[in-house]
Each structure stands twice: as structure tokens, then as C-alpha cells.
């Protein structure tokens, strides 16, 4: 099977007065049709910037300095602004954390949705509106006609996020990037959105990258998992393998600090310290200051190894 998306050696760096911030540093992964990948990490690890790089949305002083992004075999790195504009919203779509920021507060939902269709397809307004109606129904919005005439402020948070998802899906993209889309929502609404996204990917065959800090969310949703730390993917593989038998000490530390994996009332196992600033990194493993297993060899940049089928690892002193 050929991959919908193949990312290879992607590096997105920011050239600031304080120095070079390596937000994304040698990141590689690939996704197939209908596959759901979880991209997990803590604030500032570069997971959102990986998403923006795939969308061609990296702003100055940042730029992609190396690597390749292939969508359906076509190279995206180095594309002109015009070509990016034709891709975005058509072949690749992104869903953001805060739907209030994605939706224009002064435009009705129908205006915003129809615009997304007409930007890419030469169809009549009526036809575009029909597609929007279908997309809203598809994401589980009751009475789509009524919602189309509403303004964003008239909808609840969960409803707004559904509209944002419908806009992302209206042109049936091959790849959807979701950046923490349920973090701001309540648990019962989060459950509904996860349910819809899972169904939509199965039905439409879109590949999905789900960016989150919450391992529990991707455990229930994703097929594969990439764990990011300080700009690098430190471990990846099938979801069960990574969660049940983590190899990188960071993955294992993250899993250990989840309350449900600990005895209630007893101290949680914790990772000491906090993540290093991205402009102060040396060549070695960025986790070694917080790592109980650190020792000889950790000062040299750990290369990517394949400890098992479909798994990658960046650690010279793995757990197994």
C-alpha cells in the first residue's frame, strides 16, 4: 500500500535573535489511507509546529530548512504560495483547538462554509450549499439548515467545533490534521467528537493526525503513535506496542505519571525537572538531564533505530 503522507527528515527551525530554535528536528513518519496517527508530547515539544509545517503555515522567522513532505507522492516542500493555497482546505485540512478562533465571528456559518467549497470547486452556490448541508449532517449536527443560518456565537462550544470539523471535511481531504480539538471541551462533548472523528475517518478514508498532550485520548482513537520531545520523535509504533511496552524512558515516564496507572492516594511516579528550552539544545539526547537511565553515549545525538517491526526509537539506553 502506498502512503498518503510520507514525511522524511523534516526540520523546521526558527532564526531568532537569541539563536536558532529547532522546533522540528529531523522528524519522519508516514500515514496510509484511513489511518489515525497520534502525535503526543508536552507543551513546546514541536508537535503543533509539525502540523503547521505540513500545512505550509510556518511564519517568519521560521522556515523548513530540510526534509521532504510527500502527499500522494507529490513533494510539498518548496511549493509556491499559490500551490499551497490550492492544497490547503482541499487535500489537507486542519482543525484547531479553539473553534472560536477558526470561525469568523461576524459571518454566518453558511457564508464561511460556502467560501471553503467555492475556493476549490467551480460549482453553483446552491450546489456548494448542498455540500455544506451534507457535511454538517455528517458530523452529527441536528437541523443543519437552521445551523447554516446561525452565527458562531449562537452555537455552543461543542457545536462550533463540529462546524469547524465540517468545514475541514467539506472538500473530502486526503489528510486531516487535528491540533488538540477536544482539549477545550467537556468530557461528554469530547466523547461525542471523538466518536464522530473515528467514524468519519473510517467512512471517508481520510488519514488523520491527532495532535495532543493527552495519551488517554489517543489510546482510544489512534492506530499508531509518535511521541515527541524537544523537537524530535523519540519513539513511534503501533499504539498497543508503544503504550504496553514503551522503549524510551520518556514515554515510560509519561505513562507512569498518568493517575489511573497508579494506586490512588499514593505518590505518582514522576519525571523530575522540566523540558529544556529549544534554543539551548546540544547535539545529545535532550531528555538525558531528566532521565534515570542516562549515562555514557547519551551525549551523542541518538540515531533512529528500528527495535521491532513498524517501531522507531531514538535512545541508546532503551528500557527493553
Amino acid at each position: 500500500m502506498s502512503a498518503v503522507l510520507a514525511v522524511n527528515g523534516l526540520r523546521t527551525h526558527f532564526f531568532t535573535r537569541g539563536g536558532v530554535v529547532k522546533a522540528v528536528d529531523d522528524v519522519s513518519f508516514s500515514l496510509e489511507r484511513g489511518e489515525v496517527m497520534g502525535l503526543v508530547g508536552e507543551s513546546g515539544c514541536g508537535k503543533s509546529m509539525t502540523g503547521y509545517s505540513l500545512m505550509g503555515l510556518v511564519d517568519e522567522p521560521g522556515r523548513i530548512v530540510a526534509g521532504s513532505i510527500r502527499l500522494d507522492g507529490r513533494e510539498l516542500v518548496g511549493l509556491e504560495a499559490d500551490a499551497w493555497r490550492r492544497l490547503r482546505g482541499e487535500r489537507i485540512a486542519m482543525i484547531f483547538q479553539d473553534p472560536m478562533m477558526t470561525l469568523n465571528p461576524v459571518l454566518r456559518i453558511d457564508t464561511q462554509m460556502v467560501e471553503a467549497v467555492l475556493a476549490h470547486h467551480r460549482v453553483s452556490r446552491a450546489c456548494a450549499l448542498q455540500r455544506c448541508r451534507e457535511a454538517l449532517a455528517w458530523v452529527g449536527i441536528p437541523a443543519p439548515d437552521e445551523r447554516l443560518r446561525a452565527y458562531p456565537h449562537q452555537l455552543s462550544g461543542g457545536m462550533r467545533q463540529r462546524v469547524a470539523i465540517a468545514i475541514a471535511l467539506v472538500n473530502r481531504p486526503a489528510l486531516v490534521i487535528a491540533d488538540e480539538p477536544t482539549t477545550a471541551l467537556d468530557v461528554t462533548i469530547q466523547g461525542q467528537i471523538l466518536f464522530e472523528m473515528q467514524r468519519l475517518c473510517r467512512e471517508s478514508g481520510a488519514a488523520l493526525i491527532w495532535i495532543t498532550h493527552d495519551l488517554s485520548v489517543v489510546a482510544g482513537l489512534a492506530d499508531t503513535l509518535c511521541v515527541m520531545y524537544a523537537g524530535r520523535i523519540v519513539e513511534s509504533g503501533p499504539v498497543d506496542a508503544v503504550l504496553d511496552a514503551p522503549l524510551h524512558p520518556y514515554t515510560s515516564g509519561l505513562l507512569g505519571s498518568i493517575p489511573s496507572r497508579n494506586v490512588p492516594g499514593r505518590p505518582l511516579s514522576q519525571i523530575p525537572g522540566s523540558a529544556p528550552p529549544l534554543d539551548r539544545l546540544d547535539a545529545g539526547c535532550a531528555f538525558r538531564e531528566r532521565c534515570a537511565r542516562a549515562g555514557d553515549g547519551c551525549h551523542i545525538a541518538p540515531s533512529v533505530t528500528n527495535p521491532a517491526a513498524a517501531r522507531t526509537l531514538r535512545c541508546v539506553r532503551p528500557l527493553r
Binding site: 455552543s156 466523547g191 473515528q198 489510546a219 482510544g220 499504539v239 505519571s257
Partner: protein, 324 residues
Amino acid sequence: MSGVADSPLLELRSIHKRFAVPGHRAAVHALDDVTLAVHDREVVGLVGESGCGKSTLGRIVCRLLEPSAGERYWRGRPYAELEARAHRAERLAVQMVFQDPYASLNPRMRVARIVGEAPVVHGLVPRAQSDEYVAELLRRVGLDASLMRRFPHQFSGGQRSRIGIARALAVRPRFLVCDEAVAALDVSIQAQVLNLFIRLREELGLAYLFISHDLGVVRHVSDRVIVMYLGRIVESAPAAELYERPNHPYTQALILDVPHIEARRRRYTPIRGEIASPLAPPAGCHFHPRCPRAFARCREERPPLREVAPGHHSACHLNDIRSP
């Protein structure tokens, strides 16, 4: 300390809180007949979704808000009695740890003053010994005492949380209200701060009201858990019991909907609908429009909170059908 023997540390009886909304005739009934007791050294978790009244309840407990109706008691004595100067220790005994470690620290104050001001003002510590006292508090929450001359922006999120906790501890409270105190933190930092709460409880014999939307976190720290929905307590039980045998359909849905690390590629079967507006809550049981098992009585009559097992209370009409 004086007080009625064996009475809870803190007690709320039939608390109501209404907020007038400009432009609306109806008021938001943020708390609707809430009764609650927290005992010495007990950790009570409070869970619920946005708008359920959990933060309002926390603010009423620390007297940042006055209830519209109902009584609050400290060790069996009404709060009104504690207003006199002689009861300063009791008035300082409940302190709050806020959600946002960025917004809740004054950016123009140094840590020494953020933490050290209140104990000096209240006469707990002479001004000359303030720095020494702050240093001791910082060490207690796991910060280097030499950092006390710094400003909040020079700290990370986790460190700021610790400063907020040190500030709450500075007036020697017995009871901390923690409102989403770890919600803004990354997983690895969240574990560090939760461990601090657990350690402080053991060292200082504190009681907590631990407010959170995160059921996993609440289960980990709490002895007892209270579930709220649209201003009412719908269920209350010892933590393990609540998670193993949830009685109320809302609690059951909450526990089912929470993503769990051991649940892989699950098929989500979400609960339908959304939370009703607190301006116009549904009649009868507030949860009935979303409840898969609602029947006629649920639409008309408010279910009272009843004991369904020892120490386990639930407000659901279904319990009258189940038990003869």
C-alpha cells in the same frame, strides 16, 4: 480549637446561589440546595462539566462569594460567629489555590512578597522574619529558597503552581480549596504537583476540596467524590465505590466517556445532547433530557439525594424502582 465535638471541619447546609443576568429576568441558579460536609484531613473531590457550579461552590467555601441562602459552618459553628477578631485563625483556615498559575500571581510582585505579605499583615510572622518564613515555605513546596527575589514571569508553569500553593499555605490553613489546580499543567508536571498535594496533606494534616473536570486526577487524590450537574449534587460516594459502582446515569456516562489509557481503539458510544442552559434548566431531574432511562416522573419531580449504599448518595428516581 473550640467547637462542637465530632462535627465536620466544614459544613454547608442547603446552600443556594443565584446570579442575576443583565437583560434576563431569570437568574442563573448556580447552586441549588447544596449540602456538603468535609471532615478533618479528608480530601473531597468535586467533578462536573462547565457550568455545573463547581467553581461557585469552591468560592463560597472560601468566602470569596456569599450564598443567596443557606448556612456555612466551621467545626460546627456558623461562619457568622467567626467574624470577630478573636477568630482570625479560623477565618484564615480556608485558603484557595487557583487554576491559572499565570493569571493568579501579581506579575509586578517578587515571590518574597507574593508569599510573605499575608502572614505579616495578619500578624502571624514579624516583618523582620518574613524572608526566613518565605524561604521555609518555598522549600516545603519544592522550590529553591534563593529564588524568592524573582518575579513570576521568571518561572515555569509548574514552579508558578508551587508559588500559588506556598502563598495559600503561608497563613497556616487547615483546608485548601483547589480549583482546577493542575488543569493548566503538562502531564509530567501535573504528576509532580499532585505528588506535592499528597505530601502536604500528610505533613500538615490538611483537608482539601479538590475541584476538577478530570476524573482520573480526582480519583487519585480523593477519599470521597461528589458529582455535580447544573447546580445540584447528583451523586456522592467514597472514591473507589463511585468509580466501581456509579449509581446515577450521569456519573455512569461521565465515567464511560472519559478516555482511558487501557481502552484502545474503542468505539465511542457518546451520551447524547448537551448541557442545558443554566438560565432555563429542565424541570424535574436536570439530567432527564439526556438520560437514556428517563421516565415520566423524571420530567416532573426533582429526585432527592438518597443513600443507596453506606456513605453512597444518589439523586435518581430509578433507585425507587430498583429497590422495593
